[in-house]
């Protein structure tokens, strides 16, 4: 039924539905009368950001096969760039709009969607705040994409481990650079970022990232990514400009990492270079590898697991003698066990529905798998 509609209308309808569901969820989740609901909401938002990061890294590592360890760097570029814009340009101009009333007074109203029903000024502010957020976050994404372009360039010559080392180095360079720019807080950290990001924006971006990455990999350009991953020489012989597609993968992947970084900054309201060390990069790589390199739904599932696992393990401490926290030990043992039992990741290269589809086929006795 949806197929007969022109593409823009069909996508528009889906987007509208998605937005409606998200708005509903954003309200609904906040209104659940459970003690500590804010805590769970916070984990959910972080999960959304992690999913965005994992899916975007999957474009580079999983689809194009370029092993990048610099994702925290791209995220940092997006986070700091967008925060710089809001703190120094957008927030002051919003304050001016309110006629000298301290900005913080409006945050509480502006943050919530109920503000639409408020007075003209509040409505206007609410709209402007979100417009500013989108501009800042997209600008952060674009700067991260530019950084991705720069890092993508050496990948024309480097493969495998060497590329991984270059990207790792890039991430550290970004961090050290930030440490030395006083205007964005340097080692003190960057504080005073307005709390503009929320459940709605994080999951809107998360959903868009998943859909875009899925549609890309289904296209001719996406097949070119896969060809580069599978066999670079054969891809080139088949007319694929491998250089261009590698750089493109880096640019697209780092754009979404930058956007995720921007949303993260505007949710946490504080940035510190220590948030973006290579440990963060490894965390994202762990999600992609655990889910199965090249599987979008695998990245999503793994990001969900790896966000909730450390949180869920918090209570283990209570049962330990001496109150020691074995959280990270259990976390790493689980990772090791998973990698030993399923080295190809949870889903391998398949998507969730393909995994189930396969089982069905096997049950019917059709198409026996040949290995």
């Amino acid at each position: 039924m949806t197929k007969s509609l022109p593409w823009f209308l069909r996508d528009f309808l889906w987007l509208g539905l998605f937005v409606a569901v998200l708005v509903g969820l954003a309200y609904g989740l906040e209104a659940i009368p459970i003690a500590g609901i804010a805590y769970y909401n916070r984990i959910l938002v972080i999960m959304g950001i992690n999913i965005t990061l994992a899916v975007s890294l999957n474009i580079i590592n999983g689809h194009a096969g370029q092993f990048s360890l610099g994702h925290a760097g791209f995220m940092a570029v997006g986070a700091y760039c967008s925060s710089y814009l809001t703190v120094y340009h957008f927030a002051p101009s919003l304050e001016k709009m309110s006629g000298g009333v301290p900005f913080s007074a409006h945050i509480a109203i502006g943050h919530s969607f109920i503000a639409i029903g408020f007075g003209a000024l509040a409505t206007q502010q609410f709209v402007m705040q979100n417009v500013y957020l989108v501009i800042a976050v997209v600008a952060g994404g674009l700067l991260a994409a530019a950084a991705g372009y720069l890092v993508g360039l050496p990948s024309l010559r480097l493969r495998g481990d060497y590329l991984a080392i270059v990207t790792l180095g890039f991430g550290e360079i970004i961090r050290v650079l930030i440490l030395n720019i006083d205007k964005i807080g340097a080692a003190r950290g960057f504080s005073g970022i307005p709390h503009w990001s929320n459940f709605f924006w994080v999951f809107l971006v998360c959903g868009l990232t998943i859909v875009i990455s899925w549609r890309l990999v289904q296209s001719s350009g996406g097949r070119a990514f896969l060809a580069v991953r599978e066999d670079q020489i054969a891809a080139e012989a088949m007319g694929v400009d491998t250089t261009r597609y590698k750089v493109r993968a880096f640019v697209i992947g780092s754009f979404f990492a930058g956007v995720a970084g921007g949303l993260y900054a505007h949710y946490m309201m504080y940035l510190n270079p220590q948030m973006f060390t290579f440990v963060k990069s490894f965390e994202v790589v762990a999600m992609v590898v655990l889910g199965g390199l090249g599987s979008i739904s695998g990245s999503v599932v793994a990001a969900v697991i790896l966000t909730f696992l450390p949180e869920g393990l918090r209570s283990v401490k209570d049962y330990m003698p001496g109150g020691r926290d074995p959280r990270m030990v259990i976390y790493s043992i689980m990772l090791i066990v998973l990698m030993l039992t399923r080295p190809q990741g949870l889903l391998g290269r398949l998507e969730l529905w393909q995994v189930f589809g396969r089982k069905k086929k096997r049950n019917e006795g059709a198409a026996p798998p040949i290995q």
Partner: protein
Amino acid sequence: MVNGNALLDARDVTIRFGGLTAVSHFNLAVGPHELVGLIGPNGAGKTTVFNMLTGVYKPTEGEIFVGGVSTHEFKPYQITALGVARTFQNIRLFKELSVLDNVKIGGHIHYQYSSLSAVLKTKRFHDAEEVAEIEALKLLQIFGLEERAGTYAKNLPYGDQRRLEIARALSARPKLLLLDEPAAGLNDRETRDLMQTIHGIRDKFKIAILVIEHNMELVMGICERIIVLSFGKTIAQGTPAEVRANPVVIEAYLGEPAEAAGV
């Protein structure tokens, strides 16, 4: 020979790797619709010639023209766009992709659209993908692989992998197809099938084919012209009958006359 309207024209091509001259003063002109064989003992430089023709290596001296265009500054993918597609001696399929996707990637240059239309799923995207699918299935049908369209390439039997590689190369719609030892590892029956296939695709797609092969039955059976390389030098060329009778070839390549008689 056909210099005027040659599809491929390699002029005095030499390549050196350090002190080693792998191929020296190689000349080759292939006209449209020709079926040419390139033979020679192991290490004669046949695959090196292929790699130069497809831009993987740059010749140290000499120049290669494809359809009258010098390919000296071209990268492999640009040469493919000029209408030269190849297969590989040691099969290089996209192993973890489906048979269908392998063929679709072969046609990459013909189904391009912006990433934006892919993301928005515009009409352009649907149209291009539909054509890609139809064309790929058509090719698979020719090679009897349409039943296996959804299988991973790595799960195909060896002979089918060889055929899939040819199908993938054809999907780039080349004017000249380079086959690097297509019969390697095939049994006699498969080789005879392959001979028919090569002949068939030449006529069906109206393309020229240049084939490297060790299997004399295949080369002598289908090629109209044969070039013999030995230690990087062209030692003979001509029709299969001429080459077979050439004492230099017999000495350098076939070793003993008794073996030649066995052909």
